[in-house]
């Protein structure tokens, strides 16, 4: 056999592949900022520490929102509904499935162009519900306040929560308040939990991804993260970039209407940006995702700031932008519906497709015509010096 060297290369690649496929083990001695950045360290923390600790008997996908297990009560209601309607679909429409999710918010500064922590706290949670196909029913709000926080600031944020909740069509029904000593928190931290009702049109699951599915983003990417970085004022840059924080239900509603069961899966592209969401799904579904860089909508101001900072907008956080996977036969309809659903989604674009191989990888066809892997973030997105 003359294939000696290439066999050895195969073996080395095999070792790498085995190592990558292994469930990550959480071995770090301390928590670093990377554990909160949404990349590989976050994944290690979740899959290596949290999942084993909270494992349920049935394996559940790691979605941003979970079905509430209502057990026998729901079974009985379903039986009654089926007896009345004699149709599974009609029965499902009568008996709501509940979905819940939680999210916490630690943004600095508290107010930034385009929004504030209060608005974010509502939109973040209702959007996690929305991309799970659920319309929000109720929110809880927990606040951790720093001693010395100005009452006017608090008042403004409470008002922001109320307004955002009204815009999203949901009410805050319960909550909690804690105060910590000065210096123990950064002004205020908020945590919201949301319960939503699953839309009967939704058939969403990571397992539903199929080769050929189109990848659609709902608008220009990277606005939120860029707005925050600029608002911190450390960079001495000024640009007209505002956060995209907004409720996503109108987009989800339009997509469900246009594509129904052909809408296979959605994700809210928050922390870690579009690239992190795509990696997460490629891993979970065991598929490849190919992205065409030239088709990804990025505002010139965001592209310019990212260029200066040495950061890729595909990894920058959004707070009102989703990624949807739609079967090819309904993709055009879905995109058209999304673009007309609201002005905020006019820039929605088809940016790529699902492929069978290479499994669990995201590839980018660069605007220049080359190809590269769009990998998971290894740590916080740190600017390069050269």
């Amino acid at each position: 056999m003359s294939s000696g060297p290439s066999t050895r290369e195969e073996r080395v690649l095999g070792i790498i592949e085995t190592a990558r496929a292994k469930r990550p083990r959480f071995k770090d001695e301390r928590i670093t900022m990377a554990h909160g950045a949404g990349g590989r360290a976050t994944q290690t923390l979740i899959e290596g520490l949290l999942v084993p600790a909270f494992a349920s008997p049935e394996p559940a996908p790691l979605d941003d929102a979970a079905r509430l297990p209502l057990g026998e009560a729901r079974d009985r209601a379903m039986a009654l509904a089926y007896a009345a309607t004699r149709e599974p679909a009609a029965a499902r429409a009568l008996v709501p499935s509940l979905v819940f999710t939680t999210d916490s918010f630690v943004v600095t500064p508290l107010q930034f162009p385009g929004g504030s922590i209060g608005e974010l706290a509502v939109n973040g949670t209702v959007n996690d519900l929305a991309v799970a196909g659920a319309h929000p029913l109720a929110l809880s709000l927990a606040m951790i306040l720093e001693e010395g926080l100005s009452a006017d600031v608090l008042r403004a944020e409470v008002e922001a929560v109320a307004q955002a909740a009204e815009a999203a069509g949901v009410r805050v029904l319960t909550g909690d308040t804690k105060v910590v000593e000065r210096g123990k928190c950064d002004g205020m931290y908020l945590c919201t939990t949301g319960i939503g009702q699953l839309d009967p049109r939704a058939r969403l699951s990571t397992q539903a991804l199929r080769p050929g599915d189109r990848v659609i983003v709902s608008g220009s990417i990277g606005d939120h993260g860029t707005a925050i970085m600029l608002a911190r004022g450390e960079l001495g840059l000024e640009a007209d970039v505002v956060s995209d924080t907004r409720p996503l239900w109108p987009a989800v509603d339009a997509l469900l209407d246009a594509a129904g069961p052909c809408l296979h899966c959605m994700r809210d592209a928050t922390r870690g940006g579009v690239a992190s969401v795509l990696n997460e799904l490629a891993r979970a579904a065991g598929v490849a995702v190919a992205v065409r860089e030239a088709d990804v909508p990025v505002r010139p101001e965001v592209a310019g700031a990212a260029e200066l900072l040495g950061i890729d907008p595909l990894y920058v956080a959004n707070e009102g932008t989703l990624v949807a996977f739609v079967a090819p036969e309904r993709a055009e309809d879905a995109l058209a519906a999304l673009r007309t659903a609201a002005p905020a989604f006019a820039a929605a674009a088809d940016v790529g497709e699902v492929r069978a191989e290479p499994e669990a990888m995201v590839m980018l066809e660069t605007a220049f015509g080359g190809r590269r892997v769009l990998d998971q973030l290894v740590g916080d997105p740190l600017p390069r010096i050269c």
Partner: protein, 371 residues
């Protein structure tokens, strides 16, 4: 973005790639080294490997200033960062480089006040805002970043800022290139010269490469069309039997460099007799320290540091990978003891290092070759 997008035009790129393909000898393999980490980054970012003919191979050189910092220096930095009252500042991607047992990010998580800055002037600003604290800047980089450190120190002196000092790890580009070229097992056909360094030092200092070692060098810019054009210029030299220094990056690089930057460096820095490079070992006169005139700003004099030399692991073959002698997967520890999460050598430390790139993308590359 004006003046940037013009250099990223995909159509022009395809045309240029076509010209390169037509010009190469199909029976020959060309190995070109891009010296600078910035080029390596651009090559990955735009997928240029994919655009070039299969027999034109780009080898990633020693010009990533972050990954050549040896472990002992990182340990020294961490030791300074952990002194009470110190605010330790450095560029972002330095934070993740492993010392003998941890990174600056780990030290930050354990309580040290480590802050990322975009410029040494930011560090000086922090010093002025915190007069009761000692502010230390961990200076790294080639001649590209050294002038800004020099100007910052000149300003610190002019303004009488006494709580500011600098751990100087600045390195120079010529000595490691010479070390590479001296190696008997070198297999490189030409060099893409470092455009940023050349902006400061000019193109002239690279003339020894064609003169003494018979390899062409083209100083190049950092946009994809710049790099493709530089490759074309090198291949044209090889095809025509020429061997010289050419400047592709004329819109930025003056052939004789930036005199004012060089003067500032000469005032603030002095050559170290030798300096250790991760993966390459000790190279004489390859790094800068603060000059005696600026010794008061030298953090190495102000703080106790372990100053221990941590040897590169014996099994690490980064030097051979850098010289293009072996492929990453041929290294004894590749993919087993040495991975991106637990890097041993320089080529695995930075995501653009040859080994880290192969670790992440090797499977894709093989698929492409199989097609």
């Amino acid at each position: 973005m004006r003046f940037v997008d013009e250099f990223r035009d995909a159509q022009l790129g395809r045309a240029l790639a076509g010209e390169i393909l037509a010009a190469v000898d199909p029976g020959r393999h060309y190995k070109l080294m891009e010296v600078c980490g910035g080029h390596t980054h651009a090559i990955y970012k735009y997928g240029l490997d994919d655009v070039l003919p299969a027999n034109v191979e780009l080898v990633h050189g020693p010009g990533c200033p972050v990954c050549v910092i040896p472990m002992g220096r990182v340990d020294d930095g961490i030791a300074v960062a952990e002194q009470p009252g110190v605010i330790f500042t450095c560029f972002g991607d330095m934070l993740r480089v492993p010392g003998s047992d941890r990174t600056l990010l780990d030290a930050k998580a354990a309580g040290a006040d480590v802050r990322m800055v975009y410029s040494p002037l930011d560090a000086l600003r922090i010093a002025k805002a915190n007069p009761e604290r000692e502010v230390v800047f961990f200076a790294i980089g080639f001649e590209t970043t050294a002038p800004s450190t020099a100007l910052t120190l000149k300003r610190a002196r002019a303004e009488g800022v006494r709580n500011f000092s600098c751990v100087c790890n600045h390195v120079t580009i010529i000595p490691p290139l010479r070390a590479l070229l001296e190696s008997p097992d070198l297999r490189l056909d030409g060099f893409i010269g470092p455009g940023h360094v050349a902006t400061v030092v000019g193109a002239r200092p690279f003339e020894f490469i064609p003169a003494d070692y018979g390899r062409p060098l083209v100083v190049a810019g950092f946009e994809p069309l710049d790099i493709l054009q530089a490759v074309q210029m090198i291949l044209r030299q090889i095809g025509e039997g020429r061997c010289e220094v050419e400047n592709q990056y004329t819109r930025v690089v003056p052939y004789d460099g930036n005199q004012r930057a060089l003067e500032a460096m000469a005032e603030v820095f002095a050559l170290r007799p030798h300096f250790e490079w991760r993966g390459l070992g000790f190279i004489s006169q390859s790094a800068l320290r603060l000059s005696d005139d600026y010794a008061e700003f030298d953090a190495e004099g102000r703080f106790d540091t372990p100053g221990v030399r941590i040897a590169d692991p014996k099994a690490c073959q980064c030097g051979e990978v850098l010289k293009g002698v072996i492929k990453p997967w041929e290294c004894k520890v590749f993919g087993t003891a040495c991975t991106p999460e637990h890097a041993i050598g320089t080529c695995m430390v930075s995501p653009e290092g040859a080994c880290a790139a192969y670790y992440s993308y090797g499977r894709l590359t093989r698929q492409r070759e199989a097609v």
